[in-house]
Structures are given as C-alpha cells and as structure tokens.
Subunit: 343 residues, 2 copies
DNA sequence: CGTTAGCACTCTTTTCGCCTGAGTGCTAAC
DNA sequence: GTTAGCACTCAGGCGAAAAGAGTGCTAACG
C-alpha cells in the first residue's frame, strides 16, 4: 500500500514523536514538529484517513494518535532513515565486546550485558548452534583414584566438561583404551550423529572392555548433547522495568517469559533472514504482544550460527537501535570466527 | 532487653500476622489471634509500650502496628519457633539440588534457581572461594598451528579455560617444555601465590625459552586469577516484583543492585557465622534498607567456601525460610565435597 | 476541491470535599 | 492491673466539578 508523500511525512512524525515521548500525538504538536505549511485542521483530516487505513489509532475519542503495529511496520520498512552508525558509537560497541581469548559463552554473555546497557532494553543471545559442529578434541583428566574429568572441545570452540566416575580403580591402560576409542570413534564426528543407537553399536563392538568403558563413553555422549544445545544468555532484565507501562503484559510475566529461554531461542531461530524485526503480535507469543524484538544473526565461518537481539516495547527507537544491533552482531561473529580460526 | 511474657506473645503475634497479611495489625485482630483472656484495651496498652521500646511502630496515628527492624530482630533471635523441617520439604530440596557429576558452577546455579522458586524470593550463591585452593592440573589442547586451549583445574573442582596464542608455530618440544614448567612451578601452588613478582622470577629462570613460553605462562596466571574470583549466581530476579510495594526502594534499583554482583559477594562474605540473617538496615547497603537477607555458608572439606542466600522484604517468613536455606546450603556443601573427593 | 478557521463536543485527568471505618489514646470505674 | 466507653485522628474511597487536550464537523475561502 502506497501512501501520499504528505501522509508518509505525518506517519513518520507521529511514530517518531510517540517513540520519544510515549504520549499520544495531537495535530498541533505535529504542526510544530513538521516543516509543512498547512494548518492543524488539514493534519487532522490526514490523520483521520491514516486511522481508517489502519496505520494509526486513538486510545480514546479525545486523544492524539498513536501508531498501530502496521504503522510501525510501514515506518520501519519504508520511512525510517537508516543513518549510518556514528563513529563514536562504533568505537563504544567495539570496546564493549572486545574480550580476547575468551570462550564463546563469555563473549556472548558480555555482548548481552553490554547491549542491554547500551539500549536500555533486555538483551538476549544464543550460543553457537551445534548443528554442524564436530568433536574436535576429548581429554581425560584424572582427579581421584576412580574419578576423572572429561573435557570436550567442539569445532565451534565450545568447551564442556563433566566428572566421570569409573566402577574400578583407574589405570593407564584404561585411559589408553579410552583415548583409542575417542580417536577411532569420536574425533571429527558431527555432534548430532551421536545418538543412543550408534552408542550401542559402539559399546557392542568393544567386547570385553565394554563394561569398564561405559561410564567414559556415556559421559562423552552426554557432553556432546550439552554442547549441541544452544544456551540463551540473558542480560539487562532490570531494564524491563524502565518501560513497564508500555508492555501490555505485566513486567512479571515478561521477565518470567524471558527466564524460560526455550521460547526465546525458538523466536530467535525462527527467522532465517540475516536480520529481523518483529513488531508486536508479529511474533506469536502472547507475552510479547506489546513488545518488539530486534534481532540479528551472527555467522561463524560464514555459517549462520546464533543470534543476538533486544526486546523492548513496540515504541522502541528502531532507527537508532537497529544499526547498533546489526553492527554489534557482526562484530561478535567476526570475533568468534577469529578466536576459532586464528592460527 | 527482656520483655514480659505477655509482651513477647503480643510481639510474636504482630510479627507473624504482619508477615502473613502485610497489613498493620490492630488490637482487635490480635485479640482473636491470641489465646489470652484480656481485653483489647489491655493489648493496646501493651502495644503502646512496645512502640515506646522501639519494637513496633505505627504507619500513622490511626492504624495498627507493624514491627520495626528491632522487633523483627527480637522475634528472630528469641521468639521464632524453629520447627524442624517437614520431611516432604526435605525431599523436595534434595530433589531440587541433586545434579550428579556437574560442575560447581552448575550446581550452585541450579541451587539459586531452585531456592528462588521455592521461596518466591531472589536468591544468590557464590562459587567456592579460591582462597585456599591450589592448582591441581593444567592441560594444553592444541587447536590451530599457533593456538591452543589451556585448561586449568583447581583443587576446589573449578575448571577454567582460555585460548592461548603463540608467536611461533607450535611444536612438540615447546609443549613438552610447557608441561615441565607446569609440573615444576605450578602444580600444587596455591592460587593466591601467583602474582606478577613470582611470574617474573619464573620467566627469568627460563632463560632462552622465556620468549616462547610467555604466552603460555601468562595464560595460566590469568586463569588462576579467574579461578580465584568468586562468581555470584543470581536466581529468581523476577520474584522481586512479587513484593514490589514492600521494598522501600524501587524494584528497579533493587534489581540493579543485585545485578552488580560485587556488593552482594561482599555482603555474603562479610558474615563469618555459619549462618546469618540481616534485617533491613543491618546490612549497610541503602538499596537493601527495606530488605532482609537470609544466608548460610557451605563448607567444602570443612572449610567455609561460599554462601547461599535469599533476599526478600523485611516481612519475609523467617520461621519457615531460615531452616530451608540452612538445609539446602548444607546439602550443597555435602554435594560439592563429595563431587570433589569421591574416589 | 483541497484547505482553513471556528466551535461545540467528548473524554481523561486532576482536584476537592465529604464520608466512612478502622484503630487509637485517654479517662474513669472496677 | 484491667476494662468499658468515648472522643479523636487519619487514610482511603466516592463523586461531583473543573481543567485540559484534542477531536470532528461545518461553513467559508481561494
């Protein structure tokens, strides 16, 4: 749907003013914000049409207008000025995510925290998906006479560890056997190919050693499962309280929703675009019906691996936050790729 | 200060009723809750004296009474019935923290979450302090031609890892040298003895190899620093919103305070008792002046290592939550000790 | 026909006063 | 020391009135 240029100007002004103040925008206010030489009555007529078209609405008869979700959508897609990021903001973001030699988890946790602080929104990030990851390395570190710690490193740089308890005292031949099994059966194996079926055939093939090796092998498998799960890192939950009135649901419900993690990761994974904005009910979780989500996906080695996003009220400042989220996400992707491949 | 038995009964009844309802308690209400055969006028007289003594206060002239911090203190110290924990609650707690073969971090994070859910409060826990911990094991895992991952395991079961970048291509003799240095200079060393001075003498003693070994050695040292820091695990922040009106400060300030971590860890570390309750202003953070903290310390191998606590409004249900926190904390201590020493 | 001034109208928000009810403190009697 | 009785205080609720913001409509204008 095409709008006349004047209507577009008015719509954009309403959206921007409402984002800034949170108050319904009236025709007089608009007049002074706009560099159009018409009267407030004309603007009123235009706004009445915009209401009829579904881009604006009135909270009550004698109030100004606020954008509908469609109004925001039109604004984001066609009207919003995508001014390039300020150099100083870029510096700030770069400083915010720079963590040399840290684990992917640490980098993403830091990114969430930083993004939350910068945007005054709640921020989330997901750890790299294990979909195409393989087992890069498995180490066994003895701890006690019957226990040891198994450390697993994946091709995506995720490191997971677990205590493993043997039924009999450890000895060097057992450990050697374990490393042989690792080398022949695990190294290079995609994480998602480790299911109970393959494990069973593996154990069956071990013959005599099966009994002693089971704790080790199953620990590796559990670690692989863990490494495959994407974790959701949450930051700045307290920022939800900043815009309390703007979220339709109670702040409590929203925080509880974020805490769950599972729906969030679904939400973030759902969009395959490089970058996405979900306005209000566009994401189909009713807890988010008055929230917008700005998210971007980061790549490791060119593969879409995970996401970073912020969650705010629908009257979030799209124009300045979208570039920030994108820039930060790209940066994190580069950082992760580099940490991983650097040699 | 000693109170007459009747005053104690009245104080206890006021505290308990106020904790339950959140409403100021009047003399008539008290009459029916108490099994004393006196009139409301007598109770009024007694309450007036309790106000004079500083144990109760009136929000305004024509309202009932609410406990002051001193009132809560007297109640917690002398009046509160310490009924033993229900067997079913014990089972529930045991189920809540049982995580076999998990890292200390994971166990404590789970404990925080669980405690928060159980008590409807915000919960915190600190990871084992590295004070008396030593380096138990250091492993080097090659990742690229010039990079590897260094994994450090402490005597308290904490595992930390870091990417380490060498200036020249890795070869087996370098790795061997590294392991020699580890064996001769790091294994068994208390974490807090690794400062820049000892590092410098170590590097100096390496002579020719110093240059190539510096990245490795400093990575180990950084990991030791990290392992020494206690982390603060936070759970159930959304529960703050449940008692929003009861916290004097805004919910936002409180959440922000919790998020910082540093002050929390100070708060928890400050009390050397086995177990402690801080009521209102007793903890000297002004963000917590209307909050109470119930905390207990867990031991690993008999040493006080870290803490678990909950933060709620001053009108928190001390009588039933204190035993729960203590029981859970002891359990976690046992679990951590066992995970560590089991062999 | 689009634009504009003017005006009555609507609806929210704030304010003010009034009333009610809970609970007290005090006094005088038991 | 305890109790009944009573006047007093104050927060909270209710409703009417006033204020304020902004609209929609009509009629006039170029």
């Amino acid at each position: 749907m095409e709008l006349s240029q004047r209507k577009e100007k008015i719509l954009a002004a309403v959206v921007e003013h409402y984002i800034k103040t949170g108050e319904p925008v009236g025709s007089k206010t608009l007049l002074s914000a706009l560099d159009i030489t018409v009267s407030s009555a004309t603007i009123r007529n235009e706004m009445a049409e915009l209401v009829a078209l579904g881009f604006l609405e009135q909270p009550h008869t004698s109030a100004g207008r606020i954008p509908t979700n469609e109004g925001y959508r039109y604004y984001v897609d066609r009207l919003m000025g995508v001014r390039p990021l300020d150099e100083s903001v870029k510096r700030q973001i770069e400083a915010g995510v720079s963590l040399k030699n840290a684990s992917p988890e640490a980098i993403l946790a830091k990114a969430s925290e930083f993004l939350a602080d910068m945007t005054d929104c709640a921020a989330v990030s997901t750890t790299p998906s294990g979909e195409n990851a393989t087992i890069k390395r498995v180490e066994f570190v003895p701890v006690g006479t019957r226990t040891g710690m198994i450390v697993l490193l994946t091709s995506t740089g995720v490191i997971k560890s677990k205590v493993c308890r043997s039924d009999i005292d450890l000895n060097s031949s057992m450990i050697e056997k374990f490393y042989n099994i690792v080398k022949s059966s695990f190294l290079g194996l995609p994480l998602d190919e480790i299911d109970t079926a393959t494990l069973q055939t593996l154990v069956a093939s071990m013959g005599m050693d099966a009994l002693t090796m089971i704790p080790f092998v199953s620990a590796v498998s559990e670690l692989a499962q863990e490494a495959m799960q994407t974790m959701v890192m949450l930051g700045g939950q307290s920022n939800i309280l900043r815009y309390r009135e703007d979220y339709g649901t109670t702040a409590y419900e929203l925080m509880d929703f974020l805490r769950r993690g599972e729906p969030i990761s679904q939400l973030l994974a759902n969009s395959k675009e490089d970058f996405d904005v979900k306005i209000g009910g566009e994401n189909k979780f009713k807890q988010l019906e008055n929230s917008s989500v700005i998210m971007a996906h980061y790549n490791i080695d060119g593969d879409n691996r995970g996401s970073i996003g912020i969650i705010g009220p629908t009257r979030i400042d799209y124009a300045s936050l979208i570039p920030s989220v994108r820039y930060l996400t790209n940066l994190v992707g580069e950082l992760l790729t580099q940490t991983l491949n650097d040699d």
